[in-house]
Symmetry: C2
Subunit: 140 residues, 2 copies
């Protein structure tokens, strides 16, 4: 019989393990919008409209959703000013600020290696076009 009915769930945090909370956290922050939002807010509070204009191509829905998720995770605070028209300001918390360097690093890496990666993709796609004959040429 199992005398300890409670399952042991507190290992050391290890994002390789599917059931570890850090895996969920990793899923949450490993996202392009989260990365850009953290970076955009690293210089100080910004309003909803400012963020929407800065993150070119983001839809209102995605921006709202990502901001809500980050607020829920304690990465940023949402402050509503009951003015007319309404004004909502978003600001990183200490937790959010603690990841700004990493996010900026990811963003800069993407920018610095974009050309290299685009070239690699073209090369790969070109090779795929003239690949040696597939062994099984009989789909049915």
């Amino acid at each position: 019989m199992d005398t300890t009915s409670e399952v042991r769930v507190c290992w050391d945090a290890n994002a390789y393990l599917a059931q570890c909370p850090s895996r969920t956290v990793l899923s949450a922050i490993a996202d392009k919008w989260t990365c850009l939002l953290v970076d955009a807010l690293s210089d100080g509070p910004m309003r909803f409209g400012e963020l929407r204009r800065r993150l070119d191509g983001i839809t209102q829905k995605s921006l709202t959703q990502t901001l809500r998720d980050m607020e829920r995770d304690g990465m940023l605070t949402r402050t509503v000013y009951p003015t007319i028209p309404p004004k909502v300001s978003y600001e990183l918390t200490d937790l959010g600020r603690s990841v700004t360097r990493l996010m900026a690093g990811i963003k800069v890496w993407a920018e610095q290696h974009a050309d290299e990666i685009v070239a690699a993709r073209h090369l790969y796609d070109a090779r795929a076009g003239q690949e040696p004959l597939p062994v099984t040429t009989t789909p049915r």
Copy 2:
């Protein structure tokens, strides 16, 4: 008439811009599986099965797809040993190795702040349950 039929596409890389190649690159690397794969491979080549076991919870399909995408992007090489049974080894390229520190940083951050974020989520969700509060907070 437009004498310059070619659109100007080479600004300075800026991931905030939807049409900038770096945005696509950011989308590609800001992914939990990519992060974990880069980290797992940072110590040297690994076989498909080793990776599958290490990245707990990943499906064969997702692993194959993510590895293919990374190979296409020039982040890693895929080597097939025509033995029986087959053996396939994956190894980071210089490009892939150049991002290992950042990826490890993201992973470690997730692990170190998991508890804090889980707590924030519970707090947020608890508030949501009992927040019929009107506009009370009035930070001028």
